[in-house]
């Protein structure tokens, strides 16, 4: 890696099959954003359906064509929309788009490495991700419709084409796409772990790493441990679907026919799925929390409070996240004793989470807060992380889960705690590192408009949603008009949808700002935020190998902000300790 000679690059090696981590990170970001537009767009369509379930709507016909003839949505397509919305947002936007973008950009730059350990694997990882996106998008155009069994694709619904139209070719493509996605994610994660362990610059001990890197590092480890299990779950499902095995299926009678499957159990699939599925929540969330740690400290001009406690809680959350998957399965027919065990482990996660939240708040205390858009989104993240995390105390408690399981209460909970929070992390990261990625600044005013509308609208969407969940309305219902009992929820659904459209529109402001700033934003100086971390010691113009000449060596932690005895309110990591100066 160490070589720094500038070999000639063609358009293709520079912009397409690039092995440079900075370019790959931009590729991840832009692909992730494109998938995000599709994922959020789908939610707009099903919010139309949920708010005005009986009225024909021209937008539905416009976007869904034959699946919404005369503007009335087909119930199968409603299920397909929620399925693909979930899949795209969880995997393609918040896993690849968030973690892929910032792990790639920041790991080499913040630890002081010239590139990832293997640029080639990194390139393959991105292109596998791209391929899986393409396959997922192709599945939207299958005659019978895309996969529609929910993003958790529980068999037998997902295994039997007789059970619903989406479980035919659409489901096959979904599985293929996810298998490729997992391969991509594993290659990426291996690369991150190896890079962090081996390529840190001189002086960069593990206890001097910025918290972003800690978060990416631990995230990569849980990814490596849990994604293969989802791959095996998917492979077994493919076998059940195509080769007549009975891993997940038994005693089935459908469409007037007894099927031959004997002895399998859908509960097995649920175990395998959630063995990834729950860590996945933290694969999505930890990078966002890492980004927040960095941004809150930098823009508060104050060291992060409890650096070691933050590392410990990242590790604790990661460890616990692998032994709590059963809380998705309290009422699946699993042995109730297991329910007790998983209640115990699940509620334990609240402890490191609470520590993190308190530490963020204390970091703000007596700071000199620079309320830039990146900072606003980080504070917003702490707010939604608390609001969404607290309802986890209800859902994680097996006894209470009985009546709210799979209702809108769950939808509200996880959208706040992992959806909105992780999206805020993504936005905060983009606003903060945009100068590093594109050499220009984004527009501040538009950033503020984007944040405030999004912040108000997202609470407007998800806070009322708790109420319809507590009232007993199940999720994934095409309409609630089949039950007169739910008639009084119609108003709330309209309100939620209106907020959803506002939130959706606010993202257009971001998109405009993003695209416009890439070309016309104000040129940035090298260290616009007066930040301590190493990426800002690299030149604005991207060069292969990141630094001209020597890689800077590290003498202090990343959080010497407003340290007494220094003229400036920041001391970059490559500044040697003064004589007699104590390490933080």
């Amino acid at each position: 890696m160490g070589d720094n000679h500038h070999h000639k690059e063609t358009f293709i090696t520079k912009y397409i099959f690039s092995q440079d981590h900075k370019m790959i990170s931009k590729q991840y970001l832009i692909t992730g954003l494109l998938m995000g537009i599709i994922g959020i767009g789908m939610s707009m369509l099903f919010r139309i359906q949920l708010a005005w379930p009986e009225d024909p709507n021209i937008f539905l016909e416009l976007f869904l064509g034959k699946w919404a003839e005369d503007g009335v949505m087909d119930p199968n397509i409603y299920l397909a929309l929620v399925t693909i919305h979930g899949t795209i947002m969880v995997f393609f936007v918040l896993t690849a788009g968030l973690s892929g973008t910032f792990s790639n950009l920041l790991i080499p730059l913040q630890i002081g490495a010239r590139d990832m350990a293997s640029g080639f694997l990194n390139m393959i990882s991105y292109w596998l991700f791209f391929l899986s996106c393409v396959i997922m998008l192709i599945s939207l155009f299958v005659t019978a419709g895309p996969a529609a069994a929910g993003w958790t694709i529980y068999p037998p619904l997902s295994a039997l084409p007789q059970a619903q139209p989406g479980s035919g070719l659409g489901m096959t493509l979904w599985l293929v796409s996810m298998a490729i996605f997992i391969a991509s994610s594993l290659l990426g994660s291996l690369n991150y772990v190896v890079t962090v362990l081996n390529l840190r610059t001189k002086g960069m001990s593990m206890t001097k790493l910025p918290l972003t890197i800690w978060a990416f590092f631990v995230t990569a480890i849980i990814g490596i441990l849990s994604f293969p299990v989802l791959l095996s779950a998917a492979l077994l499902l493919i076998m059940d679907r195509s080769f007549g095995t009975s891993f997940y299926l038994s005693d089935i009678f459908i469409q007037g026919e007894v099927l031959h499957y004997q002895g399998g159990s859908p509960v097995l699939f649920e175990h395998l799925f959630w063995f990834l599925g729950h860590p996945e929540v933290y694969i999505v969330l930890l990078p966002a929390l890492g980004i927040t740690s960095e941004i809150v400290a930098t823009h508060a001009r104050k060291p992060i409070f409890g650096y070691r406690a933050m590392i410990m809680s990242i590790i604790a959350i990661a460890f616990l996240s692998t032994i709590v998957w059963g809380h998705h399965m309290f009422i699946t027919g699993m042995n109730p004793f297991l329910g007790s065990v998983f209640t115990f482990t699940t509620l334990l996660i609240a402890i490191p989470s609470a520590v993190k939240a308190f530490n963020y708040i204390t970091t703000l205390w007596k700071g000199n807060l620079q309320l830039n858009p990146a900072m606003l989104f980080s504070i917003g993240l702490v707010s939604t992380f608390i609001s969404g995390g607290l309802t986890g105390l209800i859902l994680g408690n097996s006894a209470l889960d009985i009546n709210v399981h799979d209702t809108y209460f769950v939808v509200a909970h996880f959208h706040l705690v992992m959806g909105i929070s992780a999206l805020y992390g993504l936005f905060a990261g983009v606003y903060h590192w945009f100068p590093k990625m594109f050499g220009r600044m984004m527009n501040k005013k538009l950033g503020y408009v984007h944040f405030w509308i999004t912040a108000i609208a997202s609470y407007g969407i998800f806070f009322p949603m708790h109420f319809i969940g507590m009232a007993g309305l199940p999720r994934r219902y095409y309409t609630n008009t089949a039950f007169p009992y739910f008639d009084d929820l119609a108003d709330i659904n309209v309100l939620i949808s209106v907020f959803a459209f506002i939130a959706g529109a606010a993202q257009l402001v971001f998109l405009y700002n993003f695209i416009h700033s890439i070309f016309y934003g104000k040129k940035t100086e090298q260290n616009p935020w007066k930040s301590n971390t190493l990426e800002w010691t690299a030149p604005v113009k991207h060069i292969h190998g990141n630094w001209e000449g020597e890689i800077p060596s590290v003498h202090r932690w990343a959080y010497d902000y407003s340290k007494p005895g220094h003229k400036e309110d920041f001391v970059p990591q490559d500044v040697p300790l003064k004589k007699g100066e104590e390490e933080h």
Partner: protein, 355 residues
């Protein structure tokens, strides 16, 4: 037609963006928009942060005032009381923490908004403080976990009860069926391979050779339950996973093909009593007001009007199961033991059906 519409929308969006761009260019002339907050920005956004706290509080209070009656429908089962108590404790705890932490977070964001000449306080460790806020959640969680596990065990491991009514629930796309165990109170063996026997009259696949199955009673329209007697639900599904969800009884359990799942509960309020309950009356009136309003529209359009709503316990499907998942329901009627026995005697047993 569609293509034309898309075309027009694209053009309109294009024009809008172009106009937006112009506005911003004009606005940018006089100010630095390079994303680094000035003191003015810090002041404004600091105040907005504080205002946002107000918004959050108002949203929470307004929601409870306006929709508080939706929270947890009235419990009508023996374990419902305990469930509700645990839920209320959790809610109080959650709201306390939510109110305090959000207040502190947003207040700090306002109070410590940056100034050009300002300097932050170099402060990054306090083991005592960290210990305190690790220990307090541990204590709160210990209470929640202990109490939660106790409730869970009580619900999941009911005491042996010979008088309990054994009721089979049978799920398929997209309806429910129920099977009473008959005089012997034992459900006959069943399997999907028996479904096609007797010209499809064996609708839940009871083994015709099992003597326990002969007196079983299968119903498809509504479930009747005697009040005050424990019911043991034994659930099966013939095709995909479904979930039997009865919100008023605080009951939910998945129905999984290939296995039998179980949930026991005791209904404590009859349908007739429930209909007279104050909360329910209020809710029913509210719903009927909405339905009358909707009927006006329907009449104007010349469509069929909605029936007035009357309260009934409902069994819903709460696990995605296909196109009509949203309409997979069954009515449940809770009545006195005598009424129940009378109703049950009118139903045909399995032996009678297959004759």
């Amino acid at each position: 037609m569609n293509i034309l519409l898309i075309f027009i929308i694209v053009i309109i969006i294009g024009i809008a963006l172009w106009q937006l761009k112009k506005i911003f260019e004009i606005a940018q002339v006089s100010m630095d928009n390079s994303q680094i907050a000035s003191d003015k920005d810090n002041r404004l956004n600091g105040k907005l942060m504080f205002a946002f706290l107000g918004f959050l509080y108002i949203l929470m209070l307004f929601s409870f005032w306006k929709w508080g009656d939706l929270l947890l429908p009235k419990a009508a089962s023996a374990h419902g009381k305990e469930y509700d108590f645990l839920m209320n404790i959790s809610f109080i705890l959650i709201f306390f923490v939510q109110f305090v932490t959000q207040a502190v977070l947003h207040y700090f964001a306002y109070k410590y908004r940056g100034k050009k000449e300002g300097k932050a306080f170099f402060y990054h460790e306090n083991h005592k403080l960290e210990l305190i806020w690790t220990v307090i959640p541990i204590i709160a969680l210990a209470v929640l976990i202990t109490y939660g596990l106790r409730t869970w065990s009580k619900i999941m491991y009911p005491k042996e009860n010979e008088k309990a009514l054994v009721l089979g629930l049978y799920a398929q796309q997209f309806n429910w069926k129920a099977r009473y165990a008959g005089v012997d109170n034992v459900l006959g063996e069943a399997h999907v391979r028996y479904l096609q026997e007797f010209d499809g009259k064996n609708i839940v696949g009871i083994d015709p050779d099992d003597p326990y199955g002969k007196d079983d009673v299968v119903v498809t329209q509504e479930i009747h339950l005697p009040v005050g007697r424990e019911v043991i639900l034994k659930m099966r599904s013939q095709d995909v996973i479904h979930s039997a969800y009865i919100p008023h009884f605080r009951v939910q359990m998945n129905c999984v093909p290939g296995m039998i799942t179980q949930f026991a509960f005791t209904p404590t309020i009859t349908t007739a009593q429930m209909r007279k309950n104050e909360d329910i009356v209020k809710k029913v009136n509210k719903i009927n007001a909405i339905r009358t309003e909707n009927n006006k529209e329907l009449i104007a359009k010349g469509e069929e009007t909605l029936e007035p709503y009357e309260f009934d316990y409902i069994l819903l499907c709460n696990k995605i199961c296909g196109a009509s998942h949203y309409n997979m329901q069954m009515k449940i009627i809770v009545e006195s033991e005598e009424e129940f026995q009378k109703w049950l005697a009118e139903q045909k047993t399995f032996a009678e059906v297959i004759q």
